[in-house]
Amino acid sequence: MPRLFTLVFLVGCLCWPRNATAAPQAYFYPFVNPYEATVMELPQFFEVKLPEAVPSRRFTLPALPSREIPGVFWYEDGLVCTLTYQDHQAPLVFLIAGTGSSHNSPRMVKLQKVLYQGGFHVISITSPSHMDFVVNASAGLPGDSYDDARDLYRVMELAYEKVRGTIDVSDFLLSGYSLGAFNAAFVAKLDEQQKRFNFRRVLLLNPPVSLYDSVSTLDLLLVENIPGGMEKFDQWFRDALVKLASVTEEMGHTELSGDFLYKAYKRLSPSEENLAALIGLSFRMSSANMIFSADVMNGGGYIVPKNLRLTASSPLTRYAVVSYRTRFEDYFNEYLFPYCQKREPHLTRQDLLDRLDLHAIESYLSNSGKIGLIHNEDDIILLPGQIDYLQGLFGDRARIFPTGGHMGNMLHPEVVSFMIGFLTGKEN
């Protein structure tokens, strides 16, 4: 199977000489289109070699004390984390997942392997934007950088308490990708005051600069790329599904492996608009999951009626339809901002926007020698100028690749080598 795949890919490369010549010599990356790079995982052929399986186990942290989990979340019973462990003394990396991702999403599992191979223990933590985190571990509404950092910090403390008897830890490190990297920056700042972990190194992988900007950009990818506008969304989705169904039927089987997706992708050869819409859709769905869960956990009033008790058998369809039509901007303006304002009466909308931005902690980020950055020039979540801002902020602690989209190149050998080098303190 891998051999066949390699063959298919090589043939693909031969038919595609433009890419080969355009790529810089030192860093070759097969997808020059950032949407393509973002959707498609790096084909195995280009990926760093990783072990098939690494020693790891799951453990569950109890939900926040005095929290009663509503019946509608009957499947939730504490926050599950993954520990990946070495059999000898090693540094421990806390790894925070990206938007809507859990501790064991495919990308997280790959990063666990990368870090294990680099000689680290890893505790993987579900994103504060994921339903599981919102239900079990968010003290209030998710989205405020400082609140999320506090929630994460508490989870990290509990998680370490839970496993400290079974692993031998030399010191602590912190990392995360996408929204998880953004979270990590604020957690690092918090740790400077709390001093529980005294992180030796913190590595941010493809963070947004302004959460609001990035989220709006991602949402526009959906809204602007559905032919005929969002009113035609159902039709677009149906067509896409029919195409996918016929391709999988032709291929004879379905599996959710990178190779399979790659082949299906090759056959479908979707347009740039469709790729962009797909990215936007995936984001919109993550965001809808978060907003609904947050509303239920905070007593309702936004999507569900206030104080309505939803049970395991309550119909949710209408809430689902509304949630999927709710943009993160709506949530920010109509729910999160009034919620924060109730707590801090003098808070303006601009204040809150500023807080959801790396600018809020820029002096810390630029002066703290322990924080590093990996990013891509063509990352689709950044606005023009933001990559230069990050480069200026982190100076020689930043490694910025010319291509790779939003984390498409995460397992590229060069990216991995910088990652491990920085975390071990052996960069250069």
Binding site: Y75, L241, A245, F292, L308, Y319
Partner: protein, 254 residues
Amino acid sequence: MGYARERMSLLMFIAAALLLVGGCSSLSKNGQDFVPPLRSYETVVKDEKPSMLEVSDSLEGFNRGVYRFNYYFDEYLMLPVVRSYEFILPDYVEDRVSNAIDNINEFGNLTNNLLQLKFAAVGITLGRLIINSTVGVAGLWDPAGSWGLVRQTEDFGQTLAHYGVGNGSYVVLPILGPSNVRDTVGFAADTAAFSLAGPAAWVDDTGITLAFTGTSVVDKRHRIPFRYRQTGSPFEYELLRMLYTMKRDYDVNN
């Protein structure tokens, strides 16, 4: 007629499971005395047509109960069995098992293509059956497929749809998962045909039929990549319902 008794006991088991989950589920109050939320359905949704998420589901409370039962069944029984199966057998052997089962199930494709008067598909299915049962060694391999005779999957649910029967309400079947009224009837008819007039009746051996049924169930789960909670969505039930309905529409139209 040993297989008839075995079917009966399966039915009894399903009925017991239904009662069990049915007892647990209760409909929540409809929120009449509640202040509508800021983003209520009425203020946000202005379309004339219902969204594709809104699938007819008159048994919803009950279905959600079965869904929950299936989640636990999958988690604590089905997946451990499937994992052992995958651990013991090499991938290559698993694929042979899948092929052999598909070959035996060509019986259903044959009858349903006949019932829909799709004679080209009947011919292809017959060709596949003959070639794969002989050259393909009792269906372990699929040489017919590689010669261009593509599997013509049809079931009685599709046959009913072919003659104009609508989906009916969505139904979640215990253990078997997503379905609708039409497809449930279809499944029952296909099962009856298989047992009373098909391969199970030809063999007429309870042990063999039981072994085949068991292996089919494990093989089927082995081939479905879906895992509960993998969507990370509180709307997993709705998403699955929508995708099932769309997939069946596709099957019927192709």
